[in-house]
């Protein structure tokens, strides 16, 4: 079965924030009035009710020229999602066959493990409902064949929606164009550390994703992997071993002699 994906061509992002508002509007988010933090960015970071943020990165290059990198940030819909791996509530986080990683808030217990498990620091706990929220890739829209709201809104075709295979092709072609255009370092961002993502980026400087606000080499945190893997198995072993050990100890050695057996029932 094909999987779906979003492509973000950062070389064409104008930071218009249409995707931000489209997301807010479609998902009927409550709007909160933000303060001023000295930049054009709407908020310093994602919020439980703000799932799609354009990060503005003002950089002056060595030759004195400016660049103003803008890139949309949201759930990456990892092929191997750290949130899902760390979630203790079965079914609260699930990965659809089309690759979308979504939350079922009926089942979410609000433990916040997914927040820690996510290598992109995306999910956010709502102080009101005590549940965790993030981009669902508009699974309600994609389920009926519509594109996600952010994709539809984007005026400059910076965002594209389609099958992951198609988008990887498009992204590679686009990176090739950028290379021809003098951006030798152009490439795509599809980090292997999480098995690839269903949100792909074209970057002018693929070696430096951090200049777009993207983590350089995201992986599921080793502590999460260790916990979900060996620690869990060893723990299971310990519990069963402990109980069985006690049982067989009793069979073999029996109770400790007390010295005055007859007094024990007094």
């Amino acid at each position: 079965m094909h999987t779906v994906a979003k492509l973000v061509d950062t070389s064409t992002c104008i930071g218009c924030k249409a995707c931000e508002v489209a997301c807010q509007e479609w998902n009927d988010q409550d709007f909160t009035i933000s303060g001023f933090d000295g930049s054009y960015q709407t908020l310093p970071d994602l919020e439980h009710n703000f799932w799609n943020l354009i990060k503005f990165n003002e950089l002056s290059r060595e030759d004195g020229q400016m660049t103003w990198n803008m890139a949309k940030y949201q759930c990456m819909h990892c092929v191997d999602p750290g949130c899902l791996r760390s979630c203790p509530a079965p079914g609260a986080i699930f990965q659809q066959k089309d690759g979308i990683v979504d939350f079922n808030h009926d089942l979410c217990i609000g433990c916040g493990y997914c927040i820690t498990g996510c290598p992109f620091d995306v999910p956010r706990l709502s102080p009101n409902s005590k549940k965790v929220y993030k981009c669902s890739l508009c699974s309600d829209r994609t389920a009926v064949g519509l594109e996600p709201a952010c994709i539809k809104a984007c005026p400059t075709n910076c965002l594209t929606f389609g099958t992951r295979e198609d988008l990887i092709q498009i992204a590679n072609a686009r990176a090739g164009e950028l290379k021809q255009d003098g951006h030798a370092g152009a490439g795509i961002y599809n980090p292997e550390g999480v098995g690839g993502t269903h949100v792909l980026y074209v970057l002018k400087d693929a070696a430096d994703p951090e200049s777009y606000g993207l983590p350089k080499d995201p992986k599921i945190p080793w502590t999460v992997s260790l916990w979900q893997g060996p620690v869990k198995w060893l723990g299971n072993l310990l519990f069963t071993g402990g109980i069985l050990g006690a049982f067989f100890h009793y069979l073999r050695y029996g109770p400790k002699p007390t010295g005055d057996e007859e007094g024990s029932d007094a």
């Binding site: 916040g112 820690t116 310990l238 005055d260 024990s264």
Partner: protein, 204 residues
């Protein structure tokens, strides 16, 4: 011959112990529910996932407070002396009921003292890592990453110790359970398990 009961645990000691035991049981079961999807049915039994997520930290807090109380009343008595160290070196003999040559135990033997100190340390670790996991939204990411590993490891260790403790306190050493329920033991029990203690209290 009807032996005169020997007073071993005060009411306060027993109350604290059993409150700690109950809170530990709740924290452990609710924790195990989140430990593995295969044990998530425990959450159902305990009132559902949301309730479990809500109750587990509170259970832990209660347990930690009670461990604190135990620390206050028992810490002095739990100091390891040279006899205890010798005892611990020969703990294997104790396990197979070959107690000849083991130093006489005081009110608590070396194993019990180790359980005490082990629980004190592990509870502190559980408390610290647990608070981090309790409020992920306020915690730095590195803290959360550490806690997400430390908490289950420590919990597993703690549960392992308690399994041993329960075995020892019930089946393995008859009379121990009564000591913690009713507060007294027989002179024979005292003589065979804690002779040094028995000698001391008999003097008075």
């Amino acid at each position: 011959m009807q032996a005169r009961p020997v007073h071993r645990f005060s009411f306060a000691e027993r109350a604290i112990h059993w409150l700690a035991a109950l809170s530990f049981l709740y924290a452990a079961l609710s924790g195990l529910a989140l430990w593995s999807h295969h044990l998530y049915w425990l959450a159902t039994v305990l009132g559902g996932g949301v309730v479990t997520r809500w109750g587990h930290p509170w259970g832990g807090i209660v347990f930690a407070l009670l461990v604190g109380a135990m620390f206050l009343i028992w810490a002095r008595q739990m100091r390891l002396d040279s006899d205890d160290r010798t005892w611990l070196r020969h703990a294997k003999k104790y396990a197979v009921h070959d107690e000849a040559g083991l130093p006489a135990a005081g009110r608590f033997n070396g194993g019990q003292k180790m359980l005490f100190w082990g629980q004190v340390v592990l509870t502190l670790l559980l408390l610290a890592s647990g608070v981090v996991l309790w409020f992920p939204e306020w915690m730095p990411r590195n803290f959360r990453l550490a806690a997400i590993l430390i908490h289950p490891i420590v919990a597993a260790g703690s549960i392992g110790m308690i399994i041993l403790h329960i075995y020892m306190g019930t089946a393995a050493v008859p009379g121990s359970f009564r000591a913690m329920i009713r507060g007294w033991v027989t002179p024979g029990w005292a003589t065979s398990h804690h002779p040094k203690w028995y000698r001391e209290i008999s003097k008075n």
